[in-house]
Amino acid sequence: MPPSIPVSSTESGVVAETTVLSPEASVSAQENVVAFETATKATPTRWRDFGNYLLARKTALGGLIAFLLIATIALLAPLIAPHDPLQQNLADNFKPPVWEEGGSTNYLLGTDPLGRDLLSRLIYGARYSLTISLSSVLLGTALGFAIGLVSGYFGGLTDTVLMRLGDIQLAFPFVLFAIAVLAVSPERTPAHLILVLSISSWIIYARVVRSRVLSERGKDYALAARALGASRWRVLFRYVVPNVWQIVPLIALLDLGFLVIVESLLSFISLGLSPPTPSWGTILADGRQYMMITPWMAIFPGLAIAMTVLSISLAADGLADFFDPKLVHGKFHRLPLPGPALLPTCEDDAGPLLSIRDLTTIFPTRAGSIEAVRNVSFDLAPGQVLGVVGESGSGKSTLGLSIIQLLDAPGRVAQGEIRFMGRDLARVGNTEMAAIRGAKIGMIFQDPGASLNPVLTVGAQLDETLRQHRKLRPAQARVAARQALAAVHIADPDRVLRAYPFQLSGGMQQRVMIALALASAPALLILDEPTSALDVTTQAQLLDELASLRERLGASMLFISHDIALLSGIADTIAVMYAGQICEIGPRDQVIDSPQHPYTQALLHAVERVTGPGRSRLDTIPGDPPDPTQLPTGCPFAPRCPFSMPVCVEINPAPVVTAPGHSAACHLLVPDPVGSRNGAREALV
């Protein structure tokens, strides 16, 4: 079949892709071929990133500079050293450093018992110490990397033999091994030491690389490569290795500092380089004998070792964060908005339980602040269920986390009010918020396995919650825990109470989560995709459960989901979110039967096919959901909207009330001053 297909025959997705084209993409065909071949245009920015990163991290920069300085000194030793490190001058022995009485500028740091210049010996010592540790690291890395790859990828007997070898080596005392090799050699050269050090360090790399290979080779992309018929070596080197090797230089850097110390240690116990070759360890050992007369002889090599190891550690630590950004953890740090938290309420019982006004939640980043939730307002009456529907990145989860004030740093509520039981949750203090969480507001997340504490039994977790929130005594708490599980229709509560979370199925775990959240009888329950990780039949069971709980307990629910059909079964009101905004909100039947916003219409249309007949083309919403870092100034749906007008690109529409309790943010709904828009309005209706 000829593979050339004209663009026009491809589907609507092309339209979407052309909207995200960069300007340079529209060049002629010849230039395209060139563009295909140039491979390394990302490199300069990578280096600039690296520079900026270092400048922001003074300790890493300092460490790196110090280490490079030491390495330069070692490299240029013959040019820098004022004396031959081996040249003895017995007339000048035991000279103190220049600043002490009797010191001379000829020997800046003094001399040793044989009259050798200490400074020159230290400079040459750096040369030997660094050469040996660097070479050992390189050799150990190469050995460990190769063994780890083979062991992890081929598994089976190969893996068993190699890993047991490593175990034996780890069990065998290092010093014994060092003595066995070094003490019997008549002449100990750097090669001897490199051999000893690298053989003792390969196992660390091998183990880490092996476990990385194990996890990577199981991933779909490696499976896909095998399904394509790629040979094992091709899968290993072309697919697995590029995703594995990054860890190695990081461990190697940390290992380097350690090996500097070990090398000095071996020299110190006379297992290092044969005298008179200077190394920091031997200089230190020489100095120790004359500690009382000439303390500087021991202090300077000690300082050299300490400085080197410290600079390597600082640099390695900083670089690790750069190469593996996952190591940097954000801290949980909530900053309440300024202003009074107590609201002037008239204690009106008929008022809403939760009332949100103009809520905006931002995530400040280096590139600028991302508005994940934008100017959201709604009311939730007691005992009602509000369903929030949206696609990934629409801000629906952030909305839930904003209400319970559990945003991950640096996310924070930037403006607006979250009125709940007479308080403004955006402004209450941290202690009070902690008391409200759990007691008055409960939250349930998508992945129950990750939400439960894996090392505590279900019973222990329920017990703790009950005793904290309901102030029950242990015996009472046990009874209450059993009741809580029975309330979510767990057939044998006693077995579940004794079980650890991993022993329960996903559906059962989620029931436990619900029981936990309900244990303190909260007035509001926030459910973030509570059934999305479950099978359809389990999901159906759980939804029935939630519906009956709602009738019995009368708690309000904020039910977040990507599935509008699911929400239509449980919610009283449905809010549709797009790009951080509520684009439509209203009573369930109205939103589903007469959707006002083009996005809601398209969403419902996309879902219809589940119940509709097959074998026709699906109507699609062209393009992708907007990138939250680059939201358009006008209506965020305008680029994908079939009814888009010039005004949509310029002005973000405000919500328009179309029926009691039903509003939508769309220019089509604005009473139209210009006749030209009528056509589009009719098309919509």
Partner: protein
């Protein structure tokens, strides 16, 4: 009838369960247990089932990524064994679920799509380049973005890259393992349309695996329902949906949240059984609302109850409304 493209007879994949110090084999997890399928060229077979039912294992076994422990696979009439599985990889390709893990993160898109061609030694440098561009165009990607990395694309676009990679060597059978399940509804429809277009244009045969019954129904000519390693029902898509024979299929169809039909779900009792310890008799009987004594000791065979419609249930025709009586999803015109 023309020769089937793929014939699977009694395919099994059992994983040994080892216990004790010596690792003696005490039992086996029957992840795939005696599955038989036939695929005609150009048709789409939907495969539905919940997590742990063995559908993903079946896919891996079909491709010999995990060699089967029993049964026979014939491709275009020829039996395939583990030794000549490479022949199969020339004609059968797979698209995975997760657009984030199914593409090698550190390879450029053009390399990803062209690697299959290089593996099979198809074409020279220039023809490969041309081929990559036309493939990208065919799946609705901008061919100028060949130098970009997967992370620079959205989920839907990544799935298109995965499809282009699978199409590169012009296979005749495509296994779509939850290929749209990770995508947002609005993007899902685009990719489904693309798969349809590609199928028509290239006369491809599909096995479409999903837990989402709506999507499977839209894509498939025939559907097979899996439960605990076995196929419990098989039949033409529309009929299977409107008049499901097996009580598990009935529960599955009724559990799908719907905009129009609220509340009237068939509620299954209990939990899905553990594959290490399946119940005796019919594996579904502990959860089945229709179970009778015979179900607990005698496993029902998969047999043809109605023309073209197979089910593994002793009472498949029981409570089955006459054709056209159920109004499942007629509301959406």
């Amino acid at each position: 009838m023309t020769q089937p493209l793929l014939e699977v007879r009694d395919l099994s994949k059992h994983f040994p369960v080892r216990k004790g110090l010596l690792g003696r084999e005490t039992a086996a997890v029957r992840a795939v247990d005696g599955v038989s399928l036939t695929l005609a060229p150009g048709e789409t077979l939907g495969l539905v089932g919940e997590s742990g039912c063995g559908k993903s294992t079946l896919v891996k076994t079909l491709l010999f990524l995990d060699p089967p422990t029993g049964g026979e696979i014939r491709f275009a009439g020829e039996p395939v064994t583990a030794v000549d599985a490479a022949r199969l990889h020339r004609h059968v390709q797979i698209v995975f679920q997760d657009p984030y893990t199914s593409l090698p993160p550190r390879m450029r898109v053009a390399e990803i799509i062209s690697d299959p061609l290089r593996i099979h030694g198809i074409g020279d440098r220039h023809s490969v380049e041309r081929r990559v561009r036309s493939l990208m165009q065919e799946v609705g990607l901008n061919p100028e973005r060949g130098n970009d990395y997967p992370f620079q694309f959205s989920g839907g676009q990544r799935q298109r890259i995965g499809i282009a990679r699978a199409l590169a060597i012009e296979p005749s059978l495509l296994l779509l393992d939850e290929a749209v399940s990770a995508l947002d509804v609005s993007v899902q429809a685009q990719v489904l349309n693309l798969l349809r277009d590609v199928q028509e244009r290239r006369e491809l045969t599909y096995i479409f695996i999903s837990h989402d019954l709506g999507v499977v129904r839209y894509m498939s000519d025939r559907i097979a329902v899996m439960y605990l390693g076995k196929i419990v029902e098989q039949g033409p898509a529309a009929e299977l949906y409107e008049r499901p024979l097996h009580p598990y299929t009935r529960a599955l169809v009724s559990a799908v949240p719907s905009l129009r039909r609220r509340g009237q779900r068939i509620r299954l009792a209990g939990e899905p059984p553990k594959p290490t310890d399946p119940p005796p008799g019919c594996t579904f009987h502990p959860r089945c609302p229709m179970a009778r004594p015979i179900c607990s000791y005698q496993a029902p065979p998969l047999k043809e109850w109605l023309p073209g419609r197979l089910a593994a249930c002793h009472f498949a025709l029981e409570g089955l409304p006459p054709a056209g009586a159920i109004d499942v999803g007629k509301g959406a015109a």
